[in-house]
Symmetry: D2
Subunit: 340 residues, 4 copies
């Protein structure tokens, strides 16, 4: 519930409303310094909501009561207007720097991962990605190397100094993945796996939250709210394409999501053009678009031999193409007063 | 991988291909009695797939090799052309009977649930639904009564004899929910929570698998395949609306999914018009449409006082309206040679 | 603009607002007998709207002013709560009868059309459909027989007594099509061809308006409003599938549109399961669903030899299958207290 | 129909197939110099297609016959691999220059238009846009000034030298609009108004073809094919947002469409961020994304007083903001080796 006070409401009237919220067992939440006087009412709002709305509506100075229970609060831009920066080792996501994360879809072998990690670092990548636990549409597809994959990622970090982001798919695996990874990725299929969101919210680890294929931007923010409300504010959002009627690409990149998210939330925002297009030929164009649109980073699938990749080969760049991409992104970043 | 044999392929040629599949470490799978000779190759197909395709392509009698790794096999209609029936107590889902499942969105109290259960049974409902663990978009919304909710559902079953279906949201809770529930529901947000699918696949419990909001029919079948491939064949599919540009209803009922699923899979299919419309005024029309389209059941939200429901009030029927709905559905079921 | 009066507004206050609307050059529009006092302001609202809103907001008895210029008025259910019936010859669309319209996608020859018309009539069809001017995605596809096709349709009507519905694609052709057809069809691609809508709005001919593939229900109603506001109230709406991410069918039948439209507008509503599925195997299921959901009619593609149809063969029923369909629809119609 | 020849097919075999195509009344079409030998069969392919496919399949050297009637040919990249440039006065669309088109949604008055035209030119705009005939969802909305609007646009061109693009909505108006405009715009609602496409295809005027809200990229190309096949090759394509489930923006910018179109067609491509977002706050980000993704131009709504615009005010930039945008786009264009 959101209570909108009259522009002419007095401090006294506002305090009385806040007091009444507490008296009914909820938590009032009001951003200091915001021009429009809006009081968020936090708690299990579904119960007795109609009655409460009437009750508050009747109070002096109240202009309007909205029964909007689906609203992010702690993820809201108004909560932290300056924008938050998530630090992972030496990397600052949400700063002036545009962060390039790169790596293979799946970790396949130590030799491959170490080689790729060196190539990515040399080209200008700042963080490594690679799947150890893989969410595959088919149960018969390769499901990832599991803990062995995590071990390999940690080895690649040791050798290159690049922090590592990798997916965690189930509450059971969170502790294990935390032992090896710098950033926990919540994949598109688990964006609304609330048990998992709550669990990663109790760790101190940064979380990369990918948008669900069929999820609205507001739902992405509500999922971020699940993590933050458990005490973990280090959340990075990632647009990775949505499902639409257009079938010439694997998904439709919702490039609008970049400025919308920068407007609505203080959290840093990335874009994954590899999944958003599903076709390596389009990755450079869309990665550039992301940087021009204000993304705080991009996440690129790179593979030494895409034709033989165990997963997502068609959307993976070779290390050479990745190198060219970084050059291109650096130029675009500078054009919008940022750096790669 | 799918190997399509020539119409003129001999038994000998087919056997050689099957043998070669095993020799390369995969499992051949071929439905007996199917006219078109197609051999499914089960296993982790992503690895070395290109080479294998060439190898099989070169064998005598092979017409064509398709690298389709995302294909359901055990859920396929061709695997069990007669159609499977899932039995829950006295209820047979997938039979000539159209099964009506009803209950509140959330279990709120024992008194409410028992009263509703009696009303639902008297009206003609055959199974109870009710959420104890609730996946809510907002962390501040009511999250369900948890085990207490499960206990209440079991009590309602004891009093009325109606089997109970309820959602399980995390691998941690599967054993607990199995203790109380007759059917485990996998909700729309967890349709691709593969850890959870595998876990419920290891139980002997029937599973009601709801389609993801942004998931294609083929993805729903792949998720069913996850459950079946773990050994649990008692899977009921449920269409509950998809996300589209149309915003006059909460979701868009994909009524086409009913005949498509009946064509593609042997699994029974239900429809949930309450979530698919989000508006009680449209529930009767869409429930009737589901029965006319060949659905094996419908799942209806019923609440004794929708205006005060703790969740999903706007889409819940009163017990009186539910009673009228059953009368209507019975007439439509008879018109298509089935019974309610 | 919509002006919502206070529940306590006096008759005098309402009259003053209406008078002021006229004084500013607009037309007030208020449905008699509606409980909620809402005054629609008709006219070119875009100009000076912000000022006007403030002006009306300041008047006594006004609760709220909404700057909703995109709102149907004459198509609204509240304008004619009983529901309108469009009569075409002996056929009444919007009555207790569920009207079955059938015919080939394209008129191909006189012999074919006459034979089909007799078969359709014998089976229980009440109106003929057939394309003479065909909107084809490709300029290289068959574009229809043109006036010769119209002449053949008129001949088929003469022989069977069945009225004829056929598409008109351009303002230039409206007069010509009116000479032959009983009902003018506006196809999905022209739903927002406003010049064409206005032109058919000036004829006395009934219009069958098909929903655009990517158009919301509210846009369909606005297009109907274009026709009605030119003086032609004989508008029949037709749901024919929308474009979504689901690709197992040609389009996604928005079955929800049936009860939503019956709720929002007084105009009769039909459904075209042939285009909405794109697959004859699914036509019977979806046609039945439409009738169960409250559709006032269905529109079915029938062809004597679907495999050789010049267009839309895969979604056409044979006359035999059509005959079976009518039997099925009759049973479902009776189950919902209507007749075929 | 597409006939794919074997890699080993001889010249003789290819000639025989081409000859046979002509003998059956169709036109063979084969791009010289393309590695894969593919013969397009142009004509009314729907008729007798199954028979023909078998006939060609049986010929020597033919690898495969595909019954793809919905395929663009003259718009294909392979038809003109270098990419075509559409010249309008001094402006070259499809060249190294990124062309900025700007102007108000609707032409409102001569004074406004002239002033805006000067401001746009001074800021770096190269072409003027402005609606004289307006396709409005509601019949009660402002429908444009008509010929008076065209006259004003021509006056603005006279004063500034900037060419003018404006929408034409009906075949009746094409001659009139040609008298005043440099580029004919086909709006999103008329993308599949085939009578209109054919008509503008017979003029010598460049055409700006906007993608339909619910239209796939392949449908956009088929609509371009309608224009080109009438003899007019001066077609510019324009992405302007598609309809999806995301509702935080008016439409969803399909940024992927830019590289897909550059890959599939030789025609120049623009993007309209004003309609694609519906919110001026997001226009700069998405315009920049378009340039970074390889768009040949952008189309921006500019209004001297957006709050009082007669249409589309919320998505219009002020002249000052437009000036800043051009500076930003120039930097991004240079970063990708182009110029503004």
């Amino acid at each position: 519930m959101i209570i909108i006070m009259s522009p002419s409401a007095t401090e006294e009237e506002i305090h009385l409303v806040q007091h009444e919220i507490e008296a009914t067992g909820f938590r009032p939440f009001m951003n200091p310094g915001v021009e429009r006087k809006v009081i968020a009412v936090l708690g299990e709002l579904d119960v007795r909501k109609a009655d409460l709305a009437e009750q508050f509506q009747a109070m002096a100075g109240v202009a309007r009561v909205e029964l909007i229970s689906d609203l992010w609060k702690l993820a809201s831009r108004s909560y932290y207007p300056a924008g938050s920066v998530v630090r992972v080792g030496d990397v600052s996501i949400g700063s002036d720097e545009v962060v390039i994360v790169a790596g293979p879809c799946s970790v396949e072998s130590e030799a491959q991962m170490i080689q790729l990690a060196h190539q990515i670092k040399a080209a200008g990548g700042k963080m490594l990605r690679g799947g150890a636990f893989k969410p595959r549409t088919s149960p018969y597809s390769f499901q990832g190397l599991g803990e062995e994959g995590l071990r390999i990622l940690a080895k690649a970090r040791e050798e290159t100094g690049l922090p590592v982001v990798t997916e965690v798919m189930d509450t059971h695996e969170v502790d294990l993945v935390c032992k090896y990874a710098d950033v926990l990725q919540i994949g598109t299929r688990n964006m609304q796996n609330y048990a998992l969101l709550k669990k990663v919210g109790t760790t101190g680890h940064p979380v990369l939250l990918k948008r669900g294929l069929g999820s609205k931007i507001r739902d992405l923010l509500m999922s971020a709210e699940y993590i933050i409300s458990e005490g973990n504010t280090k959340v990075i959002l990632c647009e990775r394409g949505i499902t639409t009627f257009e079938d010439s690409t694997r998904n439709t990149t919702d490039i609008n999501a970049i400025p919308v998210l920068k407007n609505w939330t203080h959290l840093p925002v990335m874009l994954d053009p590899s999944h958003a297009t599903g076709n390596w030929q389009y990755v450079a164009a869309i990665a550039g678009a992301a940087v021009a649109a204000g993304s705080d980073g991009v996440m690129i699938e790179v593979h030494n031999d895409p034709a033989r990749a165990w997963s997502d080969g068609p959307q993976s760049l070779t290390p050479e193409r990745f190198q060219n991409l970084v050059v291109r992104l650096r130029a675009i970043a500078e054009a919008v007063d940022r750096a790669v």
